[in-house]
Symmetry: C2
Subunit: 188 residues, 2 copies
DNA sequence: GAGAGCATGTAAGAGGTTACATGATTCC
DNA sequence: GGAATCATGTAACCTCTTACATGCTCTC
């Protein structure tokens, strides 16, 4: 369960609340490769306390809602280390865009081109977002923490760029295939 | 729901059973980008009949178990076409390997290298499998069906190759980072 | 005699999403 | 006056996975 272990990882860095896990941590880093829902985070924190991998203290606040501060336990640290060093199978790969393309014979080429163009926009937006993240390049990282972050970012950058290149190739192939079967049409 | 629409796509090609969908279709093509569980296929077929996107006839066999042959309905064809030409957001990207790398400061470098090496094996195996699939190259496809299959395969090949290149880069970075903080250790 | 192929299913559970609820304070 | 921030939660639902069950035929 990656979500559980990602939370343990953040708690290992510092004790914090479900709210800060969601807004300061996941949404700004790990969320790029393991998006986490608020509801899901709260449920998982309950489970962590129940299984004694984390502890919880309530902080009473007067001007704001009370908050529950979670800390990792000794058992939690061990479990985190165990999971981190355990090799694991990659999860099933699921991509609706490829399903659409696979059956694209059943729709007009123009429609499929639009679907691809839309996907490209998403990939590009995601790439732009990643590009705006500032982390030292691989050779200049000063800590293992920084290097880990850099390498995950690198994966994101490279795979988005590859995805965009592939979309372009696919669009070109679809466009230039058309004349063979249909009478020549002008695009755009 | 991609599974539902992928099934509609196959039924559009020809009427068939849950069994053949699983063994002849999904496991040999679409499964590479949308793996489908047997249980899930049967449940989805029920739903398709219920919502009148497909019909079902039972064929009685004496020497083998009876089989249920599903066919796409008119409404099913329309629904398939609607879905295929509808642009859609890419699904959330989730990769446990990146989570592990992100928090890799908490384990020994050697352990993380092993985790990466294991992932590399999986990627390579997947790539080998894809490489053994025979489909004409982009310029030589004779039908839209073939081109669609080729383009999805191309995505698989390119993304696996990119993943392997990235793993190599990550392993190298981890290995050459170590000397800065720890005393020099020999690897392997 | 064992195992693969054919063919369909049930039951339970894990993980994630969506919609909704509460309520004070601070900022524009 | 309205929106954002802080902070936690419930209920219902969807998709997918795992484990298990049945039973005949054909091949090695």
């Amino acid at each position: 369960m990656s979500l559980m272990h990602a939370i343990l990882g953040f708690l290992r860095r510092e004790p914090q609340t479900g709210y800060s896990l969601k807004n300061d941590q996941f949404d700004k880093s790990v969320g790029y490769f393991w998006p986490a829902d608020q509801t899901q985070i709260y449920k998982t924190l309950d489970k962590l306390v129940e299984s004694e991998l984390a502890t919880c203290e309530v902080e009473i606040q007067s001007d704001r809602p009370n908050r529950k501060i979670y800390s990792i336990s000794k058992a939690g640290k061990l479990e985190l280390e165990r999971w981190l060093s355990e090799p694991s199978d990659p999860p099933p790969y699921r991509e609706p865009l490829l399903v659409k393309l696979f059956f694209s014979e059943y729709v007009k080429t123009e429609d499929m081109l639009e679907v691809l163009a839309n996907a490209r926009l998403h990939y590009q937006a995601h790439l732009d977002e990643l590009t705006s993240i500032e982390i030292a390049p691989i050779g200049k990282c000063n800590s293992r923490e920084e290097l880990g972050a850099r390498l995950t970012l690198e994966m994101g950058l490279q795979s988005k760029r590859a995805a965009i290149a592939w979309v372009d190739q696919a669009m070109e192939a679809l466009e230039s295939f058309e004349p063979k079967n249909k009478k020549d049409k002008k695009h755009k």
